[in-house]
């Protein structure tokens, strides 16, 4: 019980962090059909910018500057780079963002080196929020979760309750019609791309102070974020939230579960036979917890490519 409750708490906060990063990715894809390979690099960029700024101006300035910087970078990419390859199709857009991811990662290594940088939360935030079964629960975890929830709510209200949101949704569904009505669609696209990038940057700035900030952080998170948006349904914000929580809870619980396929077989009395096979049969869930998300992604892609909440098309 103790393990279950703590794991649920940990899983939810980790899931909310995943959502912060994937929200921007899925927004951009839903809108423009571009699968942005550089998205996780925006997340990393956010953490490094926040680190650089906060070491001079303090933590909170870093948290504010990072998303703005990353958002402007995102807008520049959308404005000046993507249109050049647009004529050659989506594959080229994807390849371009892929190349950008490479450049961002190497630039960060050039400026900050190969090692983790010492990006820390301020001392006044380093306390335990409450005790549960004698274990301290760090406040900063709740902070990460809180930022994600505020962000989701704000985004949701913006898209559904404001005039800007109506235009954005119109531009997504019928860009030509929206343009004919006099809306500046390229502007809307740039705004959406910038917002998506800024969200990733914010996530990086917030999470970088808790998890290590190193040049591999984009790579490590990048693939998981793809899993999240695919499982949730490309382009669906609600789906991303659901999938993020699912993956977060799963990776939190998988650690404590020593299940294997052999355990499954022993339910029907074939346990010894399965164990004698070895290999895949005896792999414990806890040791393959990194594999399961990819298997899940594969299954979703093959069975229901629209994902959990995405629209079929």
């Amino acid at each position: 019980m103790e393990f279950a409750i703590i794991s649920t708490l940990n899983g939810v906060t980790y899931g909310l962090l995943l959502f912060m990063v994937s929200a921007g990715l899925t927004l951009i894809f839903g809108m423009m059909g571009v699968l942005n390979f550089a998205h996780a690099s925006f997340y990393m960029l956010g953490a490094y910018v926040a680190y650089a700024v906060s070491s001079v101006f303090g933590f909170w300035v870093g948290i504010i500057v990072a998303p703005i910087f990353v958002g402007v970078t995102g807008m520049a990419v959308e404005r000046f780079l993507l249109p050049r390859v647009h004529a050659h199709g989506h594959a080229h857009e994807l390849l371009l963002t892929f190349g950008l991811a490479l450049i961002i990662e190497e630039l960060i290594k050039l400026f900050f080196g190969d090692f983790p940088v010492n990006y820390q939360m301020p001392a006044e935030m380093r306390f335990s929020a409450f005790q549960i079964f004698g274990a301290d629960y760090p406040f900063y975890r709740l902070f990460i979760g809180g930022v994600a929830i505020v962000m989701f709510t704000a985004l949701w209200l913006l898209l559904t309750r404001t005039r800007t949101g109506i235009i954005v949704r119109a531009a997504e569904r019928l860009p030509a019609m929206a343009e004919a009505l006099g809306h500046n669609i390229p502007m809307v696209f740039m705004f959406v791309f910038g917002t998506g990038a800024a969200l990733a940057g914010l996530a990086g700035a917030v999470a970088g102070a808790f998890y290590p900030t190193n040049p591999n952080m984009g790579l490590e998170l990048g693939v998981i974020v793809f899993v999240v948006v695919v499982v949730g349904g490309l382009g669906s914000l609600k789906g991303s939230l659901l999938a993020s929580l699912l993956i977060g809870l799963f990776s939190s619980f998988a650690v404590g579960l020593d299940w294997s396929l052999a355990t499954l077989f022993s339910l029907v009395g074939l346990g010894d036979w399965a164990r004698s096979l070895g290999g895949l049969m005896t792999l414990e869930l806890s040791s393959v917890s990194a594999t399961i998300p990819f298997a899940l992604m594969l299954i979703v892609l093959l069975v229901r490519p629209a994902g959990l909440m995405g629209e079929r098309n």
């Binding site: 103790e2 393990f3 703590i6 794991s7 940990n10 899983g11 980790y14 390979f37 996780a40 892929f98 991811a101 490479l102 990662e105 190497e106 290594k109 190969d114 090692f115 983790p116 010492n118 335990s128 079964f133 004698g134 274990a135 301290d136 629960y137 760090p138 975890r141 998890y211 290590p212 190193n214 591999n216 984009g218 790579l219 490590e220 998170l221 990048g222 693939v223 990776s251 939190s252 619980f253 650690v255 404590g256 806890s286 040791s287 917890s289 990194a290």
Partner: protein, 429 residues
Amino acid sequence: MSIDAQGCGTRTVTWEEKNMRSLVMSAVSAAAALSATALHAEPLKIGIIESLSGAQTSTGRLYANAVKYGVDRINEAGGFNGEPVVVTEYDNAGGSPEAADKFRQAVADGVDIIFQGASSAIAGQLTEDVRKHNIRNPGKEVIFINLGGEAMELTGDKCQFYHFRYTTTAPMRVNALVSAMKESGDLGDKVYSINQNYSWGQDMQAAVEAAAADGGYTVVDEVLHDVNKIQDFAPFVARIRSAGPDTVFTGNWSNDLLLLMKAAGDAGLDVTFATAFLDQPGNIANAGKTALGHYIANNYDNAATDGEFAESYKAATGHYPIFVEGHTAFAVGALQQALETVDFGGGDIDTTKIALALEDTTYESPIGPISVRKEDHQTIRPVVVSKVVERPKYPADGTNMGFETVKVIAGDQAINPVQDSCKMERPAE
């Protein structure tokens, strides 16, 4: 999505050049002294095949620095075979395929002895490459001095005559920790084992299980996890807590150790960590006060010596030996001692003779004698157990914390038995 950095270099160019220059300088003076005897002698060539780019650069760099320090000592003493010893660095970018590639490059350059330390996987690759090379090129054998590959199989299944392991193994470290912590009363009777899921971590886990009877503890739970992939160790800490251990044994290194300790600190988990790599640069600074009171078993600790070696290392390199630098310098020291017993009169270098001499060498390191066990070429060496304290003699990472020696276990007590799987073929004599 990315490509690991493959280059080593420019970042280190200026410094490298300086180092090269000092190397050349000492080489020149040594050569001048000896030029009367042999004009065109064959120099001994040493290749360092290390992770000089990619995620493990920091460790690879330390190994390379310490090897160079040791070779400088050899050259100061007049070099070998009438020539200064030549050192070349090869960057394996932290990967086995690249290491195989760089090994071929080293062979093309005529290297006689290779040194490598970061990663058992790469050591496994290199020892196989060396074995094959030596079979195919009799008379031109290459010696592999393993500075940090601690997987048991390197002196087990894969053991061979031209491989020498100048570091400890998992059982050596675990047994030393158990014996020292039991004496100081910090061990307790419930032990948890958390390790990385590959040969080194599996060896650690097996060693923790094996030492249970002697240590008088029970292993309450054990877990193997992915290597340097996990962002969030909180779930593992939750699992450790529910098992309620007194001591947590872990062979984790790099991020995996740092994050584990940070997560344990955040959750207020009250256990003692028994580690193998806590002295990796950055760990103490990052973990902060959380690190206090935890143990490490290691090859070397400045605080365990009279400080003479530490000072001379500092005089040459600008800092006290940290992490792997100490025992790496001793490996080169042992080589230097072995080289003094062979003489090729300025002619062709026979590496088999050097290997045989290395077998008979007992090197008096500042923490005790280091000798080679002939059956599997594991070194018999002392193991130092230390504890993190405030205001130590040698502070770590610019903090006010560092290591205090708890106990030095002598080589003959620390050593693990020869594995049955080692079938070494010796050269015909």
